[in-house]
């Protein structure tokens, strides 16, 4: 307790210097923790969108689909139904999908596009591309007509088309023959994702299947579970029932997205390291200065019989007290601001129009979550840095010989 008290009081001898060090520590702890909280919320959102718009928690694909998105890599609907039915009690929704490269032609223009075949009745308002605010014109409802199609806003513009107008989709069908069919635009969507708005056509699954001339096959059967904890069990069941398809958990199906996320996390860590390094050097500097100013005091302490270790402990305590105050204030600020952004978010829409990452649209309003793991680690590393940063000042103090200091 003596050393703690001494450490504490010694810090207030030069309050400006100590406050600068504390502010450095607090600021970097705050920045790193707050960014970690924002990142984790964004990453969760990205994964959620990626999962919902793609494989769900687990998905059935042709064994080659994930490596080669060839239009021929199809799986039978019957098998998909057999497996999804057996998981019915665990799943929140299942969705069958097709992805077909095609040429869209209007009287004015032609464009290469991707045709997505979706069970619209199931996916409407759920799939990230079919969320409410995405549809800007037309209708989402009862799209079951043979010619019904939804089309991206930029694509519609390029083709010079609007609601109700007709266009032709031309594909190479399953039997390697050219197939063209006429469609009518029933709805126009604008996701904000360039890829999607420029070259996507969404068809009801049946229409897409008939375009491909493959009535009983799909590319993707996506299963969203009620509880992610049922994933291992669901995988096991699905794998035991599969025939020609292969079963993948979500993380295998969206590797690019996960790579982007882990890259982003590494970015964050590198930034934190640089920040910590700078703050660490500042702390070492402040402690060294305060130690060198006090050689006479250390000399007196040693002369009257204080052991070297105790003086070292005292300086160590100064580093620890400094770090603890800084960490506590940084965490406090981070928690306050995180609570705020968790509830109200930060609106970046005026700064940034559309933020894309791995074909997933990021919301212009950023919310934060809680990355307690990162907060804990950041605090620990900072404390470690404070202790480590005290070592050189401790070393400086041990070099003070009492007889020299007393001159």
């Amino acid at each position: 307790m003596l050393y703690f008290r001494l450490g504490f009081r010694n810090l207030w001898r030069n309050p400006v210097r100590s406050l600068i060090s504390i502010a450095g520590i607090a600021g970097s702890v705050f920045l790193c923790c707050y960014l970690a909280n924002i990142k984790i919320a964004n990453h969760q959102k990205m994964i959620q969108n990626g999962v919902e718009g793609g494989p769900g928690h687990l998905a059935l694909y042709h064994p080659d689909w994930l490596t080669e998105r060839e239009v021929d890599n199809l799986i039978p609907v019957a098998e998909a139904i057999r497996i999804t039915d057996s998981l019915k009690h665990l799943s929140k929704r299942t969705a069958f999908r097709l992805y077909i490269p095609a040429l869209a032609q209007s009287p004015r223009n032609s464009e290469g596009v991707v045709v997505m075949g979706m069970e619209l009745e199931k996916e409407i308002l759920k799939h990230p591309l079919l969320k409410k605010k995405v549809l800007i014109k037309g209708t989402w409802h009862s799209l079951s007509g043979k010619q019904d199609a939804l089309i991206g806003e930029a694509l519609a513009k390029k083709l010079g088309l609007d609601i109700g107008k007709k266009f032709v989709l031309m594909v190479q069908d399953k039997h390697n023959e050219i197939n063209s069919q006429l469609f009518r635009i029933r709805g126009i969507f604008q996701t904000g994702l360039k890829d999607m708005d420029n070259n996507t056509v969404i068809l009801p699954l049946n229409n897409a299947q008939s375009l491909l001339r493959s009535e009983n096959e799909i590319h993707e059967a996506s299963i969203l579970l009620k509880d992610i904890n049922d994933l291992p069990e669901s995988l096991k069941t699905a794998r035991s029932l599969k025939d020609v398809s292969s079963v993948h958990p979500w993380n295998e199906a969206i590797p690019q997205l996960l790579a982007i996320i882990s890259l982003d996390r590494i970015n964050g860590m590198v930034m934190a390291m640089v920040l910590f390094l700078i703050v660490g050097i500042g702390t070492v500097n402040a402690l060294c200065m305060s130690v060198m100013e006090r050689t006479r005091e250390f000399g007196v302490m040693r002369a009257i019989g204080t052991r070297q270790e105790k003086i070292s402990l005292m300086i160590l305590m100064e580093g620890i007290v400094l770090s603890l105050i800084g960490i506590a204030s940084g965490l406090f600020a981070c928690i306050l601001l995180s609570l705020y952004t968790q509830k109200y978010g930060i609106d970046l829409s005026s700064q940034i129009k559309n933020i894309e990452a791995g074909n997933i649209l990021l919301e212009p309003i950023i919310y934060s979550g809680w990355n307690f793991n990162a907060m804990g680690w950041i605090s620990l590393i900072m404390l470690g840095l404070g202790i480590f940063g005290s070592l050189y000042p401790v070393f400086l103090a041990t070099r003070v010989s009492p007889s020299e200091a007393m001159r």
């Binding site: 010694n10 007196v300 302490m301 019989g305 052991r307 070297q308 270790e309 007393m406």
Partner: protein
């Protein structure tokens, strides 16, 4: 009376760019319980160096220093620190006190490093503060004290653990003569009434006048010992 400190042919040399300085040269001395002695000599005569050797702050190059019969030779830094803590009280010329601690805490500091239980502190410290007229100042910080008051706190800290001997390096050098006089009165009465053993270094004639033993130094050598 028992011998507290003994120096046997002690020498301490400093080698610098201008050759070797014999700061203490072949000194043999002993100090007994109840002494009130002074090391006198001009500046550079080796007073501080000798005092540091006597107090185990420094080690001799040649010869041997015995503190309560224990040789400082071959002792580790920690063992020497413990020896100083238990046997010797120190008073320096100035800046004796830890500025972040109050008067009470400065005296308490030495009890804490000695590991004396907190509940005993009051009964050890308060009588000493009373004896030195510091009781009303015990909550003050050193910066709020006069030079003489600071030196009295240094004395309090030096004597609170009842050391064998108190070493004081020019304790009056930074004080005006009135303050110096009353400080010397105090130390004299501690010597008479409380049997505290003192060894000073000084070139202050007043200190030398009051000492019972005067050890005169020149160029690191003892040139005269005068017992009164």
């Amino acid at each position: 009376m028992s011998t507290l400190i003994e120096l046997k042919s002690v020498a301490r040399h400093y080698t610098g760019s201008s050759g070797t300085v014999r700061a203490v040269d072949n000194v043999s001395l002993s100090f007994k319980e109840g002494d009130f002695s002074v090391l006198a000599g001009s500046s550079g005569s080796g007073k501080t160096t000798l005092l540091n050797l006597i107090g185990g702050i420094d080690r001799p190059d040649i010869g041997e220093v015995l503190i309560s019969g224990i040789s400082t030779q071959g002792k580790s830094e920690s063992e020497l620190a413990d020896l100083r803590l238990n046997k010797i009280g120190f008073i320096f010329q100035s800046y004796n006190l830890l500025p972040v601690l109050t008067v009470y805490e400065n005296v308490q500091f030495i009890l804490q490093i000695r590991g004396i239980a907190d509940r005993l502190h009051n009964e050890l410290i308060l009588p000493v503060l009373k004896r030195l007229g510091l009781i009303d100042l015990k909550e003050r910080f050193p910066s709020q004290l006069s030079g003489g008051q600071q030196q009295r706190v240094a004395i309090a800290r030096a004597i609170v653990l009842k050391p064998s001997i108190v070493l004081a390096d020019e304790p009056t050098a930074n004080l005006d003569s009135d303050t110096a006089d009353s400080l010397l009165d105090l130390m004299q009465s501690l010597n008479h009434e409380d049997r505290v053993t003192f060894l000073f270094s000084s070139h202050d004639p007043e200190v030398i006048r009051r000492a019972r033993t005067v050890i005169r130094l020149r160029d690191g050598k003892v040139i005269e010992i005068e017992n009164r």
